[in-house]
Symmetry: none
């Protein structure tokens, strides 16, 4: 079991939630919200694992992978991003990340990725997370995050999600699916 984890995300709310969830499960957790603090913390703590967001202000989290591995070569880096793409996933893994996950993702999946040390890429005997997000819940969380990033602007959110504004309004009018 991994002991020390550094969580890197510029969203303080997300950072806090994830740090608490990991601490609750017995991990030593620290956090950073920008590139400079990340490398300072890595130098000081030599974490065994890093949960790394890609959108860190003007700096891409991709640019932190190799410096982090230079500091702690055995460090497992799990990239976690709200702006996922196959291209950046390929790049991240080539640069040395262990795993790449798109937000929103359940904490158990993050932990599974952190603890995973597969030789072949397929986790040996690792059971799947007991309770992945349902598709409805996934959609709700995703919509809420993008809506927040657009300051509650429904039209802009619908455009960003490539969804019709009417459809988004209908979805928002519903009570969210219980987790």
């Amino acid at each position: 079991m991994t002991q020390s984890i550094l969580v890197v995300d510029d969203d303080p709310v997300f950072n806090g939630v994830l740090v608490r969830a990991l601490a609750r499960r017995g991990y030593e957790v620290s956090s950073a919200m920008d590139a400079e603090t990340t490398l300072t913390a890595a130098n000081a703590l030599a974490p065994e694992a890093v949960v790394l967001d890609l959108n860190l202000g003007s700096v891409s989290g991709l640019n932190l992978i190799q410096p982090l591995l230079a500091i702690a070569p055995d460090c497992r880096i799990v990239v976690l991003t709200g702006y996922a793409s196959i291209a950046t996933a390929v790049e991240a893994i080539k640069l040395g990340a262990t795993q790449y996950l798109a937000k929103p993702v359940e904490v158990d999946a993050i932990i599974a990725a952190l603890d995973d040390i597969p030789e072949s890429g397929v986790p040996a005997d690792a059971p799947p997370p007991a309770d992945p997000l349902s598709v409805d819940r996934l959609e709700w969380e995703h919509i809420q995050r993008i809506l927040r990033e657009h300051d509650g602007n429904i039209s802009a959110t619908a455009r960003a999600l490539k969804m019709h504004r009417r459809t988004l309004q209908r979805k928002l009018a519903k009570r969210p699916v219980r987790a």
Copy 2:
């Protein structure tokens, strides 16, 4: 410039088009349409590069990556798939593929991937996307990740996602939304 390329795709039309396009550009091209032929050809030809489809009947192209690299360790493998997902991209790169591209893709992009030999891994090629994933795309990625965690078991995946098995089958049968 790479000289010998093995194209692996079970679609004869696609195979023919790509083989001719690569031959026209001066490459020595051979092709295979199933797993067994692929390994036989690789043993005989020791290609410098392989363009590898993932959907090869009942065998996943992912399962060919390591056998191919065992035969030709310096071989560059570019994975092409019409059912691209982050989960399979991550797995392909971890297994040793050089690049992973979603169909439809232009021949020039395939060639660029085949010839690409990055030394430093500077991630200038893959900036993070400006837009978040659409809801449809996010759903596809989530389904693919959970499906892999359940070893391709559709019934178990449907239960985990709290979705009807019939619905999941319909979603899996569709080509995913372009990223």
